[in-house]
């Protein structure tokens, strides 16, 4: 059956609507695989590439890998944090520019650095409910090709001009222009309500949790070492498509050392009166890049003879009241993870792989410190004591954002695809499927975390 030439045989639609009415019958959403382009430091290989260029490149690599040419995917969702106003339909435009069927619908989503992970969770839920059978989640960001806005003064004059009807009115409006109105407004990383940059916020949190410079440098060192080892082992061969001459993330310093990291000068927290420990080495640099993840129902994956790497089990979004310093800006995952694990009857000891996004080394270490803190566990999490300890040998084992870089909205897709592959390889070590946890902090005091299980 078809309407306007589009098949209306939405696979197993009647069964799925029944399934949705019963929590037990909700079907699984699996990660089939992922594709990203290497991440590039700002001002590097992707300087002239737009968000749409990079998202389309990542999408086309995914299509090629899984044979999705002309396929009508259930839905594509992606987003960018730094977005031009002309990119209002960024994802749909990327789909139209890709080899997917032009009948594939798409929507944009924005939740700061959690954008990519939230697209995965939202689409996985649609698959679980039987609303769609396949989906592509993703994200892209360019700090090189960032939008620059005209000043408020010029913007108001231009808008008023467009409403003016007569020449005298237009002249009167133009006369309001002042030389300073011609200076553009560049985006900045300051939190709108505090005026502090993300780094300055994290510097406060890092000091509050007494995280040392050495511990931060060690985490950064491990990130580079682990990512380099993963590249050398060929781990990214089926997760990445070269782009603009890059075959690896350009921020990766395989030869970095603790001595080199220790020689860097602090960049955040110098004006805050606290001891400054955060350097360009233990903070993520501004980066350009894009990532995508293919999600599906088990039936769709089987019908298309595609792998099933991991199941998206559950996800939690949380937020903290950071504005007046009750909690650190990037500490929402410290609350989200305990909620996620509790409702799934799990503890930190049950997790085989932890993927804690390295916005700053201090972010990861402050989160771990909060979980190990008795008082935080009692007074803030409502537990009897500390939440628990993360086995560091299970943390970011193939590197994370400190080494790979962090094109804001693209980080979620990078992590989901890598973790799904790691879980699939791990299989069922003790007779139960391996579990992976993702934690991503975001601007505005937000955090999104997710639980994946090996297939």
């Amino acid at each position: 059956m078809s309407i306007d030439g589009q098949s209306v045989n939405g696979p197993e639609a009647p069964a799925a609507s029944r399934a949705a009415s019963s929590a037990h019958a909700v079907r699984r959403a699996v990660v089939v695989g992922g594709n990203r382009i290497p991440f590039a430091r700002t001002g590097g290989a992707y300087t002239k590439s737009s968000n749409q260029d990079m998202l389309t490149a990542a999408l086309d690599g995914l299509i090629a890998r899984f044979g999705l040419q002309d396929e009508r995917i259930g839905e594509v969702a992606a987003g960018a944090v730094l977005k031009h106003s002309r990119d209002f339909n960024l994802t749909r435009e990327a789909v139209l520019g890709s080899a997917l069927s032009a009948e594939t619908p798409a929507y944009d989503l924005q939740q700061a650095c959690a954008t990519g992970l939230e697209t995965v969770l939202g689409l996985a839920n649609k698959i679980k409910l039987g609303q769609i059978d396949s989906a592509i989640a993703g994200g892209v960001d360019s700090a090189s090709d960032a939008p620059i806005a005209v000043s408020e003064g010029l913007r108001e004059v231009l808008l008023d001009l467009s409403r003016a009807k007569t020449l005298p009115q237009r002249l009167q409006i133009l006369a309001r222009l002042r030389p300073k109105d011609l200076a553009p407004d560049a985006p900045n990383t300051g939190e709108p309500r505090t005026g502090l940059s993300m780094g300055e916020h994290q510097a406060l949190t890092t000091a509050q949790w007494k995280i040392t410079r050495e511990a931060q440098d060690e985490l950064a060192y491990n990130s580079h070492r682990n990512l380099a080892a993963a590249y050398d082992a060929g781990f990214f061969d089926d997760l990445l498509t070269p782009y603009r001459g890059l075959t690896r993330d350009s921020n990766l310093r395989a030869d970095t050392s603790l001595d080199k990291l220790a020689s860097l000068k602090p960049v955040f927290g110098r004006n805050l009166g606290s001891q400054a420990t955060m350097t360009a080495g233990n903070s993520t640099p501004l980066t350009d890049g894009a990532s995508t993840v293919l999600l599906a129902s088990e039936e769709w994956a089987d019908q298309h003879d595609l792998p099933k790497l991991a199941t998206i089990l559950d996800g939690v979004a949380a937020a903290v009241d950071f504005v007046h310093g009750k909690d650190g800006l990037l500490m929402a995952p410290a609350f989200a993870v305990p909620r996620l694990l509790a409702r799934n009857g799990l503890t930190l000891d049950d997790i085989d792989y932890f993927e804690i996004h390295e916005a700053f080394a201090g972010t990861v270490l402050s989160t771990l410190a909060a979980w190990e803190d008795e008082e935080f566990g009692r007074t803030r999490l409502g537990l009897e004591g500390a939440f628990g300890k993360v086995d560091r040998s299970r943390l970011n084992v193939n590197g994370s954002s400190l080494a790979a870089g962090h094109p804001f909205a693209a980080t979620g897709g990078r992590i989901v695809a890598s973790l799904a592959k790691m879980l699939h390889e791990k299989g069922a070590p003790d007779g139960r499927p391996a579990l992976g946890l993702i934690s991503i902090c975001a601007a505005g005091g937000q955090g999104v975390v997710a639980l994946l299980e090996a297939q």
Partner: protein, 303 residues
């Protein structure tokens, strides 16, 4: 309400005329010698049926970081009432030189919400002339009622110092005890104030006091650079306290070192809640991250 004799003004006084008049009065005093009045005028000035301009309100809200709601921010009402207050201090029988007076402290009781379409009656008078270790201080009180209503929705008390002016009959105050040394806490916010911060506030408040407008106009009045308007700083701190404060609150600010523009101002806001997480009060303090000097501090407390 004051016991003072009310004088109804036919229209809102023009601040620019008041400043010109104050400058002329200052010149006259310089030539003709000191003023003969040593007591505050026993009158209040009142303007009836005042309406806020909605465009101006929106510009004010955007500048201060308030969302553009229909409720008038407490600092905006202060700006609305300010010309009435100025007109009292501009009277010939006002005993102190108006230009150069220093704003020491401001206390506002915001008892209930006023909306932009509500016409208001605004009354102002001076009271409590008293000694200060550095001169003479007084309070200027403004009250705002809904037009024709008896209930006061907003009441502000601004304390000003006429530095170096000692009036006969008012004993010199004892030197105040040395204030405790200020140690800056970790900030919760950082403001970047451009050199035009004074002009921007003048545009939305109507208060074109030359000390806030430009380096040149400030130098003409003996300052090395222009300074941020105290009510701009206090109103921004009030906006930063956020929506937790609800509709009825007491808002207080004490000014210390002036903020010379341009400047970075660090701010700490700490909030006290009940056990049930209901908001009780927020205390704020602002300082220079460069010198560590305290600029101002204050509180917003539930009424």
């Amino acid at each position: 309400m004051s016991s003072a004799q009310p004088i109804i003004l036919g229209e809102m006084p023009s601040l620019s005329k008041l400043y010109v008049n104050a400058a002329a009065a200052a010149a006259r005093r310089r030539i003709l010698g000191s003023h003969n009045s040593t007591a505050l005028p026993l009158v209040s000035h009142e303007v009836r049926g005042v309406l806020a301009d909605v465009g101006n309100l929106t510009a004010y809200q955007h500048l201060l970081g308030e969302s553009a709601s229909d409720v008038l921010p407490a600092g905006f009402i202060h700006a609305l009432a300010f010309p009435v207050a100025m007109s009292v201090m501009n009277r010939d029988d006002f005993p102190l030189p108006l230009l150069g007076m220093i704003h020491l402290r401001n206390v506002v009781e915001h008892r209930s919400a006023l909306r932009f379409a509500d016409p208001m009656d605004i009354t102002a008078w001076t009271e409590n002339l008293r000694a200060h270790r550095a001169g003479t201080q007084l309070d200027i009180v403004a009250e705002v009622r809904g037009a024709g209503e008896g209930t006061v929705h907003w009441r502000g008390v601004s304390t000003y110092l006429a530095k170096g002016v000692y009036l006969p009959g008012i004993d010199k105050a004892a030197a105040a005890a040395q204030p405790a040394a200020f140690k800056a806490p970790d900030p919760t916010g950082l403001w970047q104030l451009g050199v035009d911060a004074g002009r921007a506030y003048a545009a939305v408040s109507g208060d074109f006091n030359p000390i806030h407008l430009s380096v040149l106009s400030a130098k003409a009045l003996g300052l090395r650079r222009s300074i941020a308007h105290g009510m701009y700083l206090a109103s921004r701190a009030l906006a930063d306290v956020g929506s937790a404060k609800g509709e009825a609150f007491r808002w207080e600010v004490s000014f210390e070192a002036p903020v010379f523009l341009p400047a970075r101002v660090a701010l700490d806001i700490s909030t006290v809640q009940t056990d049930g997480a209901a908001w009780l009060r927020s205390d704020y303090v602002a300082w220079s991250p460069r010198s560590g000097r305290k600029h101002f501090s204050g509180s917003v407390v539930a009424l």
